[in-house]
Amino acid sequence: MAVEYNAFITEETIEGDADGPLADARVAVKDNISTAGIRTTCGSEMLADYVPPYSATVVDRLTEAGATVVGKTNMDEFGMGTTTETSAFGPTRNPADPERVPGGSSGGSAAAVAAGAADVALGSDTGGSVRCPAAFCGVVGIKPTYGLVSRYGLVAYANSLEQIGPIAADVETAAKALSVIAGPDPNDGTTRDPSAVDGADGDTAYAAAADGDVDGLTIGVPTELFDGADDRVVETVEAAIADLETQGATTTEISLPSVEHAVQAYYVIAMSEASSNLARFDGVRYGHRAESDGNWNESFAETREAGFGAEVKRRILLGTYALSAGYHDKYYKKAQDARAWVRQDFEEAFADVDVIASPTMPVLPFELGESLDDPLRMYLADANTTPVNLANLPAVSVPAGDVDGLPVGLQLVGPKFGEKTVIRAASAVEES
């Protein structure tokens, strides 16, 4: 089942408490989320034998809620990829079509749910890594508002962008899992209690919001996130939005001019943060260590040559370049300007609309191997997901239909801590 799709890197069990809101639920955990005593590889040779001495806060919360962890899922190396093909443990296949990629970087998590091997899976979403595989595999993925879910125990890639989020076969189950993992954590200073945030809905009982009631909801439809998308994807998403209109929602065309620069801004910021974060992999305290006769710097460079795959090296080098003297203002500073512009565009849009709808991915799932040697092509597929991370907002990807058996995802974006609104809208898509 999940074995033929290579969804798991490690299949080991952590038993959950006897009862709780997730009693009897089988949960798969992305392999960049720490599990005490069970290796946590990040899909990398670098951490192939790394066994964390502690569990991430989200793992503890899941098991305390009764869930049983059934394994650690395959992923693009350190979360860097859109296809789960950059894993050192081989690609994951898409259960909807095994000749195609499951999306990434949380491809193993989405495939495990789609194949029925888990009821819930955790992914991490830095630029779309929960929503993309959810869309490609035909399941539901939630990227929470920045700060809603603790990242203590998540191996860092780009801290200012990433959130852990749930994947499940239906909106209600994903929402229930989100309630379990949400909330402040003294071990992660970036977490916030939504009830202490001005204007935010502090109630985190998200499953109750999956009531399918979109009567009176205003949906913004940004032209920029439809332009350039595959026609078949656009048709499928437009049909799902039209169906929400028949259920009482109204739609209005909006413009988000800044999002044309989101992919550039995202990659500059993510690569810059990655170049700093991944400096910790030096082969001394943990991780792979090359046999080297060289001095500290030579040994360090050889360890990292052997431990990292091509995409990780690419991002570390480009991030180092973007932060280096003479280029910082041109790349990093401009990317931060673009980020502020994206955030401002969304804020203005949410003055008039409740949610913003678009295709999650502008393309259908790639065939295996199709984009692996063309990094820029892979990056461009993140056009609709990266703006959400830049703006720190919550979003859901929900199945909108399919094209010749290939799943298409509808992305619904909400205002900060507006999880209930996007969950409610997504549940209405399911009912249609």
Binding site: D49, V51, H261, S275, R285, N297, F300, A301, W341
Partner: protein
């Protein structure tokens, strides 16, 4: 858009499309402490040129008055239970007398 008035300039900081050669890739790789083999160096030079050219479009982004609402999140500086020494050392390739062993410094 990018200023292309001086076609001879090859310094990306001046606003022209960056020229990336294998030597430049090597320099960045050295800064990042990642050794590359020859094939990787050549492939990266081509890919970096294409990716950095795409990043050029950031020049069109207007400068914004960015107001970050940032606050420091501190906790009291009190001793708390942490990992044991054995736990902290458990994943190290080489240890001695309770310390990490690194490669020689020079």
């Amino acid at each position: 858009m990018t200023d292309t008035s001086d076609p001879d300039a090859d310094d990306a900081a001046t606003g022209d499309a960056p020229a990336v050669d294998a030597a430049e890739v090597d320099h960045v790789a050295e800064l990042a402490r990642v050794r590359l083999d020859d094939a990787e160096r050549e492939a990266f030079a081509d890919q970096f040129a294409e990716i950095l050219e795409y990043f050029e479009a950031l020049d069109e982004v207007p400068a914004l008055d960015r107001e970050e609402e940032l606050v420091n999140v501190m906790r009291a500086d009190e001793v708390e239970e942490g990992l044991t020494q054995a736990e902290a050392l458990a994943n190290a390739a080489e240890t001695e007398d309770g310390f990490f062993m690194g490669p020689k410094v020079s």
